[in-house]
């Protein structure tokens, strides 16, 4: 082994310690041959999946080749991140890093871990691995890749990502690279959609979680159910068309396994004489109220609700409630001042919320029913469910229609949103220790699940009589009571702190307005400007010092936050001082206006909560 390997591996560990450990543990590559070139630098031959041996770089002058390759790329200065498909021995990556503007992220994806190992062994990669904002993914774990990409996008300010393909590397694994290229091309636009959703619905979501604070405090946490169903089968029931045929089977097993149902199908099950043990609720809009309308308290299953779910539905729900702490900071605050609830990832569909609850409870196997995520026939839902969207009929041509692989081995008509749901399910399934069984007879394929008709799933996995209702009831009864006096005091204090941030923002905005009429070329005005600037900065520092408080406010101001970020990029690229100064001022206005808006919103909602709190 060359002297390059150990120092390269150490540097790789700074980027990704787990990856460095994995690559370090690999045996020396046998399907990659390192060859000297006439230029004195090494090149490599790699064996492809079809058995052909191809050169990863020029066997004469790999640097010249890399230079030409990157010179032919359009590296737009307004792009925040560049993703290179294929690392090879890294010549083109090094050239890319040399060419991209400073501060941009560079992602490198190498499907062949043995190629990465060969690169670490054959060259000094210090210039590559030591570069800030470099991210490396290696391997062919598609789900792992999606996760890695998500973590990167969430942790960076990246709005635009340009995907570049190293042809030679692409040749080694075209199927994987093709799939991830598409994913990356979509990822930033999807993130834009998520952000714009947050901009559009941020206030509504924030209203929901604030108004839900007493219900979060008093609900049982999912942590009460951790491991409660260990080794026991459970059913997750969606409202897909195949639920209609599954109803008689569910009726048969309702006393033998826990049934968790999606909100829309709750009333259908009750009408059919099936008593689900829990219903999941995720949707933020008040159309969800009809899913539980006229529900009798005695028959209402426990409601597993997302803290962002519609507060009116949560308030009106007649049965017991279960919730969790999510990435939304208000949920942590509520748990801190009542009792810990246990954390769960936010789902992107109600079925995901139900799934995560059952996974937390340790159910094994986890049996999916009516989760078709596609349209095997001419109906979109099971007959008799309360429709959350559409008319119930499959249109001849649907908006955002896609074809998905089906459990039958063919293709099934579906829509883009369901495709995303399938992907999220696949990620969740890959992280579930328990077996997951999909009983949909003609729905979308969810990789990682066992496809079985519901009769066989019951026969194989639900043999013994259980008392699921008793088990759920016992856990619900364990929820500790809330000290409402203390809760009220904490809320009051919080409202005061939020009000203070609002005041700081208001006065800073006033001073900013006054600076607008000042003439920087006038000596007296300049002095006044300096005085205002000191006061404005002081307020800003005071606001930013409220470390724990600010995350509670930030969701309402997603639009302004995006604007502040956009201005930040403009300031970074601004050539002249005057423009930079003007942009800085604009950024300040957005900053304070955003916090004023957020504090006013939170103050108003907290006022409602305080009025409605139990004595």
């Amino acid at each position: 082994m060359s002297g390059y390997f150990a120092p390269n591996l150490r540097q790789l560990a700074f980027i990704d310690a787990e990856l460095a450990e994995r690559i370090g543990a690999l045996p020396p590559p046998t399907a990659v041959k390192i060859l000297p070139t006439r230029s004195g630098l090494p090149s490599a031959l790699a064996v492809c999946t079809d058995g052909a041996e191809v050169a990863l770089h020029s066997l004469h002058d790999p640097v010249k080749q890399a230079h030409r390759f990157i010179a032919g790329m359009e590296l737009r200065p307004d792009v925040d991140a560049f993703a290179m498909i294929g690392m090879g021995l890294g010549y083109h990556v090094q050239e890319l890093l040399r060419r991209v503007p400073a501060g941009r992220h560079v992602l490198v994806i190498e499907s062949r871990e043995d190629v990465l190992r060969a690169a670490l062994e054959s060259r000094d990669l210090g210039a590559i691995l030591g570069r800030p904002h470099l991210h490396i993914f290696a391997g062919t774990d598609y789900v792992g890749f999606l996760d890695w990409l998500k973590v990167f996008l969430n942790g960076s300010n990246v709005d635009s990502l340009s995907v570049l393909r190293h042809m030679e590397s692409y040749r080694l694994n075209p199927a994987f690279y093709g799939e991830i290229s598409l994913e990356m091309e979509k990822a930033t636009s999807r993130r834009q959609i998520e952000l714009s959703t947050l901009v559009t619905y941020g206030e509504e979501l924030e209203t929901n979680v604030i108004r839900n604070l007493p219900q979060i405090a008093s609900a049982a946490g999912v942590n009460r159910f951790t491991g409660a169903l260990k080794g026991r089968p459970a059913f997750l029931i969606g409202a897909g068309p195949s639920l209609t045929q599954a109803l008689p089977h569910l009726k048969r097993v309702q006393d033998r396994a826990v049934l968790v149902v999606a909100d829309t199908a709750t009333k259908l099950l009750l009408r059919e004489g099936i008593r689900p043990h829990a219903a999941a609720l995720l949707d933020m809009t008040d159309k969800t109220m009809k899913f539980f309308e006229n529900l009798d308290a005695a028959e209402a299953p426990a409601l597993v609700f997302d803290p962002d779910a519609c507060w009116k539905t949560v308030h009106a729900y007649p049965g017991p409630r279960i919730t969790f702490e999510s990435i939304v900071p208000w949920t942590t605050w509520a748990a801190l001042h009542s009792s810990p609830k246990g954390t769960m990832e936010k789902g992107i569909s109600v079925a995901h919320t139900g799934y995560q609850f059952l996974r937390e409870a340790g159910a094994d196997p986890l049996i999916l029913v009516g989760i078709d995520l596609g349209f095997p026939g001419d109906t979109t839902h099971a007959e008799g469910v309360v429709l959350g969207w559409g008319t119930g009929r499959v249109a001849p041509k649907m908006q955002n229609e896609v074809m998905l692989p089906s459990v039958t081995g063919g293709q099934i008509r579906s829509v883009v949103a369901f495709k995303t749901f399938v992907t999220v399910f696949e990620i969740l399934v890959s992280r579930t220790a328990a077996k997951v069984v999909n009983t949909s007879p003609g729905g979308a394929l969810i990789r990682g699940t066992e496809n079985l008709p519901i009769e066989q799933a019951i026969e194989r996995y639900v043999p013994a009589a259980e008392d699921p209702a008793g088990l759920m009831k016992a856990r619900l009864a364990e929820a500790p009571p809330v000290d409402w006096g203390r809760f009220r005091r904490e809320l009051d204090t919080l409202r005061g702190q939020i009000g203070a941030v609002g005041e700081l923002s208001r006065s800073a905005l006033r001073w900013l307005k006054q600076t607008e009429r000042l003439d920087p070329s006038n000596k007296v005005d300049r002095a006044e400007f300096a005085t205002h600037a000191r006061k404005i900065n002081k307020n800003r520092v005071q606001i930013l010092a409220q470390g724990a408080l600010l995350p509670l406010l930030q969701r309402v101001i997603s639009g302004e936050a995006l604007e502040v970020r956009r201005l930040g990029k403009e300031i970074r690229d601004a050539k002249d001082e005057e423009k930079r100064h003007r942009l800085e001022q604009q950024r300040m206005v957005y900053f304070f206006a955003a916090y004023l808006k957020a504090t006013e919103h939170a103050g108003r909602e907290l006022q409602h909560v305080l009025r409605e709190l139990p004595a």
Partner: protein
């Protein structure tokens, strides 16, 4: 009877009525060989006879034709002309190779394919031109001896490079394909450049 003119002057040739045009042409060829002149064009009754399609023109009875015009040239001069034409062509071919490799490196596949076709045709022309030089030079007493063995070896290497080109296309190996274009074939071109330059300096007065 068919009139025979060589370089514009009447050429005496005795033909029987049944003799084909070929007989007249052969008589001129023998005479030109003795005079160390190379035939450069043949025109029969105003029609230029293509070099590769002479047979149907020459099979007909001479008695049925009116005029056979044959142009000749000093072979040394002719060889110099061929070399002069080939030299800049080699430079163009070299540029095309580099450009093709660049296209591959930059992922411009369509452009590369067009250039590749051009390069293959270019090599055909080059080899054809060099082949024609051989018989021409054999009639020039002052001509230098061609490095025949070296040329043969080079043609063999060229054949291997072209095989490498085909195999790289089949296995979709762009780096090796570009290497063949830019380096392996370029080395072959360098050999031909030097050979032609040596030849020209030996032939030119």
């Amino acid at each position: 009877m068919m009139e025979v003119l060589v370089d514009g002057a009447a050429f005496p040739v005795t033909l029987r009525p049944e003799d084909p045009v070929q007989a007249a042409v052969d008589a001129v060829r023998i005479a030109m060989l003795a005079r160390r002149r190379a035939i450069t064009s043949i025109v029969l009754d105003g029609t230029v006879v293509p070099a590769q399609e002479e047979k149907p023109f020459f099979e007909v009875p001479a008695a049925s034709r009116k005029k056979l015009e044959i142009a000749t040239e000093d072979p040394a001069r002719l060889a110099i002309n061929v070399v002069r034409q080939l030299q800049p062509f080699l430079d163009q071919l070299q540029t095309a190779h580099t450009h093709a490799a660049e296209c591959l490196h930059r992922g411009k596949m369509k452009e590369f394919q067009e250039l590749l076709m051009g390069c293959v045709q270019g090599w055909d022309l080059l080899i054809g031109g060099v082949r024609n030089l051989g018989p021409l030079l054999s009639t020039v007493p002052s001509a230098p001896k061609l490095p025949v063995e070296e040329m043969k070896a080079n043609v063999a290497i060229l054949a291997r490079a072209v095989a490498g080109l085909k195999s790289s296309i089949q296995t979709q190996d762009p780096s090796r394909l570009a290497d063949v274009m830019e380096y392996d074939l370029a080395e072959r071109l360098a050999f031909w450049k030097k050979t032609l330059a040596d030849l020209r300096s030996a032939l030119e007065p």
